[in-house]
Each structure stands twice: as structure tokens, then as C-alpha cells.
């Protein structure tokens, strides 16, 4: 279970707004997070991962306090180790596809399995510049999974995939999520995009 109760002022083109979320995410759940552009969906994921600080609030993951602004507690992203698939992929230009996974884990069998899931086995020596958008997006998801996180955060994770690839990948991901009992939060601007995989939802309004 992850209990989140946070508040953060956001600055946007339309002036200042407040991102205020109080929500419990059951362990092993797959939550679809949706809402209009600029509502703070990405910021919310980054707050949970420890990449951005909220103004107020608490985050408790499986009984461990990750964040308590009043008590001055904020665990680093390295300690939280939440898998994060970034919207812009955030791939390392200097690393090949395989090196991305090797940077995250030493488990070579796990790497082979991930490559198979992403159907990227033939592209292991390619750097991001030489991968298509869809291949880059799959690599971003696989890299986040490589650390076998208990919590997986995905920002618009399937936006660059064709329907067939998307269905196959999702089926494989669901197996892995179940196997490692991962709690998953996936952001989408499209309310219906993640309907088939989510068992819970959170709407963030602007």
C-alpha cells in the first residue's frame, strides 16, 4: 500500500494552481492517472519518485515513510528506487541499448528476458539515436523494469507504439507486474487509453 497526501503549487501559463492529492494505492494495483495537460500528472509521479519536492504532505510506502515535509523527511530517489519510465524517455545518448539495461542491473538472464519482452534482441548494439520512437519508448520501460522495482511509475508509456506492439507489450508487462507484485501508476492524457490494464484510477483536475 502506498499512501499519498501531498500539496504543491504549480506555475503554468494560466497562472498559479495547486496540485493537491490524497489517495491510497493498494499494493499490486495498477492505477491509471489521467487529466488535462498541465494538471500536474508528471509532477505527481516525480514527487512520488523523489525527483521533486512538494510544499506539504506525506508519502508512506509499505509502512516506510518516504516523505514527511513537516518532519523534514525526504528519502532520495536512489533509496526509494521507484522504476520510472519518462515521457521523453530520458535515454542516455552514450549508451547502447544493452548498456542501458546493464547500467541498471547485473542480472544477465533478466536482461535477456527484458529484451525479449520488448522485442529488441536484434538492436542491442544500437544507441538511442539509431532507434525509432517506439523502440526508444520500449527501452525506457524496460530500463525502469530492470531494477525490479516494487513501484513502477510510467509517464505516457505507450504513446509511440502501434496497436499490435502495444497489446503484446502490455500482455508481457502484466505477467511481470504480477510476478514481482509491482504497484504500477501510469499517466495518460487520454482517459480511455489505459482502461484495459488499470484496476484503479485517479483523476487530476487542473
Amino acid at each position: 500500500m502506498i499512501k499519498v497526501d501531498i500539496e504543491k503549487k504549480l506555475r503554468g501559463y494560466g497562472g498559479q494552481q495547486v496540485l493537491k492529492i490524497a489517495h491510497d494505492f493498494p499494493a499490486g494495483s495498477i492505477t491509471k492517472i489521467y487529466g488535462p495537460s498541465g494538471a500536474g500528472k508528471t509532477t505527481f509521479l516525480k514527487i512520488i519518485a523523489g525527483l521533486t519536492e512538494p510544499d506539504k504532505g506525506k508519502i508512506v510506502f509499505a509502512g516506510n515513510t518516504w516523505l514527511d515535509v513537516d518532519a523534514g523527511i525526504s528519502l532520495s530517489p536512489q533509496i526509494r528506487r521507484a522504476g520510472f519510465a519518462f515521457q521523453n524517455y530520458a535515454l542516455f545518448p552514450n549508451m547502447t541499448l544493452r548498456q542501458h539495461l546493464e547500467y541498471a542491473t547485473n542480472d544477465s538472464q533478466w536482461i535477456e528476458r527484458l529484451l525479449k519482452i520488448g522485442q529488441l534482441e536484434t538492436l542491442t548494439t544500437h544507441k538511442p539515436d539509431y532507434l525509432s520512437g517506439g523502440q526508444q519508448q520500449r527501452l525506457a520501460i524496460l530500463r525502469a523494469l530492470a531494477i525490479k522495482p516494487k513501484l513502477l511509475l510510467m509517464d505516457e508509456p505507450f504513446s509511440a507504439l502501434d496497436p499490435e506492439m502495444r497489446s503484446e507489450l502490455i500482455a508481457n508487462l502484466q505477467t511481470i507486474w504480477k510476478e514481482f507484485d509491482m504497484t504500477v501508476m501510469a499517466v495518460s492524457h487520454d482517459q480511455r487509453e489505459l482502461d484495459e490494464i488499470a484496476d484503479a484510477e485517479l483523476f487530476i483536475r487542473s
Binding site: A49, F84, N88, P93
Partner: protein
């Protein structure tokens, strides 16, 4: 032509570049992260040699290094080290004088990398140091090489600061730029030309190398 000034110049430029690589990389990284008033002031101080006349910088360094004042006095008493009119003093002055040429390009390259690269590395459990060594540094390699070559070439071309701090001691502080000046003063135009041509050729090759390297290698990592 006495080759000692050329050798001394290359030695000074090499040591200065090496020291600035060691000091400059972490300093540029620190400066590239966030903007505090302390960082702004420090960056302004680092940039001053670009806009100050070398003689002004040389004068203040001479005052600071002098055994009668501040740091120079302390070094003389505590460690028996003399900076004025010595090679170590020249190195220290050159490090200060050439610092903007090392810090500027590296800091700018670091700032151009998307912040999400660092964030992605952190979420994989990697430390700040590991992220710098394995993610940031390899992606700014071209800028680091450019900065190192520019620092080397700029140090070769020093005159004002070197003259103020080192004077003209053959074999110790008489670098090639001083040798040119000295030769002209003595109406020895043949030696002046030989030193000048050597300096011109060395720096020309280095600057051309930077341009060629940048043409093929130095582009934004995300291009």
C-alpha cells in the same frame, strides 16, 4: 634558437591544462546545478580574466603571491615556498588566468543536457558521482576536449600575467612569449621570428584541430 622557452611554454600549458581538468570538471558541474548568489559571484570572479587587462590581473596576483603579503607571505613562512618569479607561481597564475576557458564550455555543455538524464540515473539507484562519471561526462566529451585544447592554446599565448609573476628568468620563467618580447628589445629579430613562428604553428594546429573535431563530433547529444 634556444628551445628552452618553447619547452617551458609547453610544460606550463600542459600542467595548467591538467590542473584545470581536475579542478574544472567538478567546479563546472557544481556551477551548472542551480543558481544561487554564491554561484553567480564565483562565476563572475572566474570570468574576470576574460575582461580584465592581463597586467591588472598580474598586478593583483603579484601582490597576493609576494612574500611580503597574504598568501605569498604565509606560503614562504609555513612551507618555504616562493611563488613570485618561480615556475609553481607561473602555474598558479596560469590556472587562474585560463580558468574561464575550461569552466565555460564544460558548464554550458552540462546545462544543455536534459535534466531527465540525471533523474533517470538517480531512479536506477545511481549516486551523484556515478551519474556524473557514466552519464554526464561521456555525453560532454567533445566539449571537455574543446575546453582542454582552448585552455592549452590560451596558456601558450599568455604574456602580461606571466611577465608580472614570473619575470624573465632563463630556464625558469622565460616562456616563449617573453622570449619574443626580449628578442625584439635586443633587436634580435631572427630569434623573435623563430619563436613567433613556432608559437603560431603550434596554436594554429590546435585551433584547427578543435574546428575539425567540432565539425564531426561536437553536436548536441540529442541531435
Amino acid at each position: 634558437m634556444d628551445l628552452t622557452p618553447i619547452w617551458l611554454t609547453l610544460k606550463l600549458a600542459g600542467i595548467t591544462t591538467l590542473v584545470l581538468l581536475i579542478v574544472g570538471l567538478p567546479l563546472a558541474y557544481w556551477l551548472s546545478r542551480g543558481r544561487s548568489i554564491i554561484k553567480i559571484i564565483l562565476e563572475a570572479i572566474i570570468t574576470m580574466p576574460l575582461v580584465l587587462p592581463p597586467s591588472v590581473l598580474g598586478f593583483y596576483l603579484l601582490m597576493a603571491f609576494s612574500p611580503q603579503h597574504g598568501i605569498g607571505g604565509w606560503l614562504q613562512k609555513a612551507l618555504n615556498v616562493q611563488l613570485v618569479f618561480s615556475f609553481p607561481g607561473l602555474v598558479l597564475a596560469s590556472v587562474i588566468y585560463s580558468m574561464p576557458f575550461m569552466i565555460g564550455p564544460i558548464k554550458s555543455a552540462l546545462q544543455q543536457l536534459p535534466v531527465s538524464l540525471v533523474q533517470a540515473s538517480y531512479t536506477l539507484g545511481k549516486s551523484q558521482r556515478e551519474t556524473f562519471m557514466k552519464v554526464l561526462l561521456p555525453n560532454i566529451r567533445a566539449s571537455v576536449l574543446t575546453a582542454a585544447i582552448l585552455t592549452f592554446a590560451h596558456t601558450i599565448g599568455e604574456f602580461g600575467v606571466v611577465l608580472m609573476i614570473g619575470g624573465n628568468i632563463p630556464g625558469v620563467t622565460r616562456v616563449a612569449s617573453i622570449a619574443v618580447y626580449d628578442s625584439v628589445e635586443n633587436m634580435d629579430y631572427r630569434s623573435a621570428n623563430a619563436y613567433s613562428l613556432t608559437l603560431f604553428c603550434i596554436t594554429f594546429v590546435m585551433v584547427v584541430s578543435v574546428f575539425i573535431f567540432n565539425k564531426y563530433k561536437a553536436k548536441s547529444p540529442l541531435e
